[in-house]
Amino acid sequence: MLKKTVLNAAHRAMNARMVDFGGWDMPVNYGSQIEEHHAVRKDCGMFDVSHMCPVDVVGPDCRPFLSRLVANDVAKLKVAGKALYAAMLNDAGGVIDDLIIYFLTDTRFRIVVNAGTADKDLAWMQAKVAEWKLDVSITQRRDGADNLAIIAVQGPNARARVWQVLPRVKAASEGLKAFFAAEVDQYFIASTGYTGEDGYEIMLPAAEAETVWNQLNAAGVAPCGLGARDTLRLEAGMNLYGQDMDEAVSPLDAGLAWTVSLNTERDFVGKAALLANGQQKQFLGLILLDKGVLRGHQKVMTAHGDGEITSGSFSPTLQQSIALARLPLGVQVGDEVEVDIRGKALKAKVSKPVFARNGKAVI
C-alpha cells in the first residue's frame, strides 16, 4: 500500500501522472515535464513535497546535540530564522542523509529530512540523544495529529504569487534573504528550495494544504511533478540523496566539502573518518557532446582512470544532456572524457557541477 500525501486527491484532479516514488504515490508530471521545468525557470511552479519529513528539535541541549550530529557547524546559525544545509554522517564518514536545519530559538530548531530516509534518521537522532545523555526532544511532524504539509513554490514570480494567496505572510517573509525562514502562526515560510530559483518552501497544517494548493493554482502557479524537480535540481547542481551520495560515500567525494566544517575543535560523528580518509574522488559536471542521454551509473573513462555518473538527464535549459559524476582526482574542468552508453564511447566535456540557475545557463 503506497503512502499518500494530503494533496493526493488534488494531484489526481489535475490529471497528474502518479508513480511509486520510494513507497509514496507521487505526481511525476501533470502532462509535460519539460513545460513544468520551464515554468519554474521563467515564471513560477509548485511542488508537493509533503513526503519529506519536518522534525522539531526542542530543549536546552539543541545546540550541543546538533553540533555533534552533523558535519556542518550549527555555530554558523547566529540569526534567528537562518537555515543551514548539512550532512548527517555515520562513524565511517558516509552520508546517512542530507538535511536543512532551521534555527528558530536556542531551544527550538526544525530539521527537514528526506522522505525515504526519515525513519532511519529519526531512529539515529533518538539513539544519539540517549547516547549523549542530552535534554532534547525529537518530534516528527509528517504523520499523525498536528502534521504538516510542504508546498515548494519556486521561480522568479514565486514570492509575489505566494503573497497574493497568503497576504498575511507577506510582512514576515518579504525581507527573507536566501536560506532563511519566518513563522506566521502555524505557517513556516522558508526561502529555501531545490531548483536554483528564488521562492519559498511553505510548511503548513496538513488540513489547510489542499485549499492553499488550489488557490496557488488559481493564481497562475503551475503544478509541477517530481520529474521537473529532478531536472531543475540537476541543472542547479544540487545533490540527490541515494543517487549522488549515500551511506557508503564520503561528503568530500560527493561535492559536499563546502558543508563540512573540519577546521575547528568541534567533534562530530564521522569527523575522524573524514580526516583519516581525506578526499578520494571529485564531484564534477559533464556535458554530453555527442547525441544521447547521460544517466546514473554510466562509466566515465578519463585520462586519470574511470569514474561514474551519479545523476544524469536531459537539460531543458541547455537543450543537451548533462550529468553529475564522481571522477578521479586529476581530472580538470574542460577535459574531454568518454562515457560508456550501451557499449558506445560517447564524448563529454567536464564542467563545474552547476549548469543553470536563476533562469539561465551558467555554463
Binding site: V28, Q33, I34, G227, G292, V293, R295, S313, F314, P316
Partner: protein, 128 residues
Amino acid sequence: MSNVLANLKYTASHEWMLLNADGTVTVGITDHAQEALGDLVFVELPEVGAHFAAEKEIAVVESVKAAADVYAPIAGTVTEVNQTAADAPESVNQDAYAAWLFKLTPDNVADLDQMLDAAAYQAVADAA
C-alpha cells in the same frame, strides 16, 4: 487516456506495426508508451540493412525520465528509418502513430498474425 488505432497490430512491449502494400512493416511505439515515458529527448534508430530476430533490442527511446528499449516485433531486415523522429523526438509525443521509427522487411509476414489486435492491446495498456 491513450489512443489505440484499430488498423494496427501491437506487441505487449508497446510497439505498433502496420503492414504496407509493398510488404514492409512500419514500426513505432504506442501512444500509451509515449505517455508513460513522458517528454522524449532522444531516439536511437537501427542501421538500414541490419537484420534482427524477433524480440531483439532494435532501437532506443529516451525521455527526460528514462531510457526504454524498442524491440523488433517480428524477425526482419531494416529497410528504412525515420530520421525526422530522431531529429525531433518530441514528434513521437505529439503523434506516436505518425512518428514511426523504422520499416522492416519481415522474414515471414505470417508472423504478424501472432501479434495483438487493437482490442487485445487495449487490455494490455489498461492493465499497465
